[in-house]
């Protein structure tokens, strides 16, 4: 909005974001007896026009991060600077105006569209709310948007149940685009779709990004998809960011043992590679975020653990070229993909 922000190439600047959910006792007083630290001190930026991938396993706080940025959950502490303005400090009408700039696409295209509204109403509602068009022009705009996402404008009077999962996701994307946002949080946008449809949606998101100069925060658990679409990738574990690096760099040379294990766990659709690959199999499960381990949160499952990890939390350190990692032994982590593939991607 303001001129001062225009020069800044960080569209979103997040500092020490914390989202703690209180846990209440069952008694009459419902006292707070603890907190689930879903997001615990994240700092990162999203550059204008880039796609930042956010990966992690279920419960690591990646979706909560997305919602906290949008102020769908009010963060416990920290700041979310969007275009120079702190979203955590504003409310009411002012916040609503900012929401025009920041949109979200949800995972489940069945749950995120109102079954009793027509497609025209679903996509038209944000246009009316933000007074971007009025009267007949709303309908014209909705038809345009349907064309943009690859649907027939003729579908405008239909209801969501008449569409397949992939088509519904296109409707969700059209709704997000309706307000001409700068920044879209894509929260697992392809996870619920069949493989052949996933590729269509991924390509669509990339085309739209190029056309409208959009910035994406792409949240997903599928590392192959995230690698494909992202410029930079951040890895989360138990509410903390453990690694952040340019996509190619992260996949070729991870600097956190958790990233390394995640990468080695992803099956590759090639029988020869699968049969010869070295896997790092993590033992055990993710600890409870209600009662996280001491020191480095990952030390209970880490293959490289040393005594220091159990007591002292490693800082999120810059190792150059935009590669950050939070590990005491970051420089000792070795690549896992076999040699020829690395050379292809390393360029």
């Amino acid at each position: 909005m303001q001129a001062q922000a225009a020069a800044n190439d960080n569209l979103v600047d997040i500092k020490d974001l914390k989202m703690h959910f209180p846990v209440k006792s069952n008694g009459l007083l419902r006292r707070t007896i603890g907190a689930v630290k879903a997001v615990d001190g994240l700092s990162f930026t999203v550059k204008r026009g880039e796609t930042l991938g956010l990966v992690g396993e279920s419960g690591c706080g990646k979706s909560t991060t997305g919602r906290a940025i949008l102020q769908l959950h009010r963060p416990t502490s920290g700041s979310v600077l969007f275009d120079g303005q702190d979203l955590t400090k504003i409310k009411g009408e002012e916040l609503r105006r900012m929401r025009r700039k920041v949109q979200i696409i949800f995972q489940d295209p069945y749950a995120s569209l109102n079954p009793r509204m027509t497609v025209g109403d679903i996509i038209g509602e944000p246009i009316r709310v933000h007074k971007l068009r009025s009267g007949k022009d709303v309908r014209i705009r909705v038809e345009e948007l349907l064309k943009v996402v690859g649907l027939n404008p003729y579908f405008i009077n239909r209801y969501p149940h008449e569409f397949s999962g992939g088509q519904r996701q296109r409707i969700g994307i059209a709704r997000a685009l309706a307000v001409e946002p700068d920044f879209i949080i894509c929260d697992e946008p392809v996870s619920a779709l069949d493989v052949s449809i996933q590729a269509q949606i991924i390509n669509l998101l990339q085309d739209l990004q190029n056309e409208f100069n959009l910035t994406y925060l792409f949240i997903a658990h599928n590392l192959s998809v995230v690698k494909h679409i992202s410029d930079r990738v951040a890895v989360m574990y138990l509410g903390k960011m453990v690694e952040l690096a340019p996509a190619a760099q992260l996949y070729v040379h991870p600097m956190h043992p958790y990233t390394q294990a995640l990468l080695s766990a992803v099956p590759i659709p090639d029988p020869e590679i699968e049969k010869t690959r070295q896997r790092i199999i993590l033992q055990g499960d993710v600890p409870s975020p209600l009662n996280p381990p001491s020191g480095c949160y990952f030390h209970t499952r880490c293959p490289l653990v040393i005594d220091k990890c159990r007591v002292e939390e490693p800082p999120f350190t810059d190792y150059g070229h935009g590669h950050f990692a939070a590990c005491w032994r970051a420089t000792e982590v070795t690549p896992i993909l076999s040699e020829p593939i690395q050379q292809e991607t390393a360029v």
């Binding site: 396993e57 279920s58 022009d137 014209i140 345009e144 064309k147 943009v148 690859g150 397949s164 992939g166 088509q167 069949d194 493989v195 052949s196 449809i197 996933q198 590729a199 269509q200 991924i202 390509n203 990339q206 085309d207 056309e211 658990h221 590392l223 192959s224 998809v225 690698k227 494909h228 679409i229 996509a247 190619a248 996949y251 294990a261 995640l262 990468l263 080695s264 766990a265 992803v266 099956p267 590759i268 659709p269 090639d270 029988p271 020869e272 590679i273 699968e274 049969k275 896997r279 199999i281 993590l282 033992q283 499960d285 993710v286 993909l337 593939i341 292809e344 991607t345 360029v347």
Partner: protein
């Protein structure tokens, strides 16, 4: 690997139908395949392709009504399971053929302790007494890597994590030393690091016990590492069948090629554009006499709209349901041409939008 000449499981022309308000759905259409002893067969397909229904039919677990096995044979060790009575089937299920489901939370009984659920089939099929069954159950839990198995037998399913529950399911599935284990998307609900644990476990147990496995999944990465042979299903039909290696090296059905081109790979170079399969999944109610993949195929010809292509041999040990000899290279160049056209169409749509915006 086969110890005898006959395959362990020989499914011939299987037909499964479901009656719905809108008409009859042929969920499985004329599907034939075999599983040899000790072999792992992968069944790959998207939702609605009939892969799960096929496995339920083998176990004779199709809910009837509305469903029924409308034709074909399921020869297990030479005997046709379709003719078996419910009582006879009960002796097979969980004993000689067992099954692991996708969601371990809904397939375990939440109000019974794990021990009770595990010992049930041991006492029933293996004639063990309570003490023997409990000891064996603890042994099985230890085998699938659950710490303190003796204590965990007294826990309820909710006290286990997702990965641990799937381990319990696998232990139960293997408890009576089945000859055939059907794993229906066993890792789909799990996180990737837990998936790796479970796949490693299944691979180890397969080597130790020599059980034949039917591995049902939509994940072509998992199939690559787990199976010896693969059957690809589309719209209730088997559309390609071959060894795992051949399927990835030389797919011969345009649908299989499309699937392989649709998945972003971890080991790919940067910036490669995906070449997806265009169009929508098939409508199972439609009964046109045509190739089910025709509306989405880049190589569709006149004849595809009037013929259901049979599964024919395209090279030794390789069958594909396509009337033409199309190779993966052809599909890739055709698909990239199509993608360029689509991108151009999108661009013109966007331009018209932008132009209108300017005039407004």
């Amino acid at each position: 690997m086969a110890k005898e000449n006959t395959p362990l499981l020989d499914v011939r022309n299987l037909q499964v139908q479901f009656k719905t308000q809108d008409g009859i759905i042929n969920a499985v259409n004329n599907v034939s395949f075999t599983v040899n002893r000790g072999e792992t067969l992968g069944i790959v397909g998207e939702s609605g392709s009939g892969k799960s229904v096929t496995s339920l039919a083998i176990m004779r677990l199709i809910p009837a009504p509305p469903g029924k096995i409308a034709g074909g044979q399921i020869l297990f060790d030479g005997e046709d399971l379709v003719d078996y009575s419910e009582a006879e089937m009960r002796k097979i299920r969980g004993n000689r053929i067992s099954m692991i489901f996708q969601d371990p939370m809904t397939s375990l009984n939440p109000v019974l302790r794990i021990g009770r659920q595990m010992t049930e089939s041991l006492q029933l099929h293996m004639n063990m007494n309570a003490k023997q069954a409990r000891d064996r159950a603890a042994e099985l839990l230890a085998m699938v890597g659950i710490p303190a198995p003796d204590k965990r037998l007294d826990d309820y399913p909710h006290q286990f994590s997702g990965g641990m529950r799937q381990r319990v399911m696998i232990a139960m599935g293997l408890s009576c030393n089945p000859e055939l284990l059907i794993a229906d998307e066993p890792t789909t609900a799990l996180d990737v690091t837990i998936q790796a644990q479970i796949l490693e476990l299944l691979n180890r147990l397969k080597d130790e016990t020599g059980t034949a496995i039917i591995f049902i999944t939509h994940d072509l990465g998992v199939v690559a590492g787990m199976t010896d042979r693969v059957m690809v299903m589309y719209a209730g039909r088997a559309v390609e069948q071959t060894s795992t290696q051949q399927l990835y090296d030389n797919p011969r059905m345009p649908y299989t090629m499309g699937l392989l081109d649709s998945i972003p790979r971890l080991d790919e170079g940067k910036g490669e554009r995906l070449t997806p399969i265009r169009g929508l999944p098939p409508d199972m109610l439609e009964k046109a006499e045509r190739c089910p993949f025709a509306p989405r195929c880049d190589f569709v010809q006149e004849v595809c709209w009037t013929t259901i292509p049979p599964l024919r041999s395209v090279e030794p040990n390789h069958q594909a349901a396509c009337l033409f000899d199309i190779t993966h290279e052809q599909r890739q160049s055709a698909a990239s041409k199509k993608a360029a056209e689509e991108a151009a169409a999108l661009e013109s749509a966007l331009e018209s939008v932008i132009a209108e915006e300017h005039s407004a």
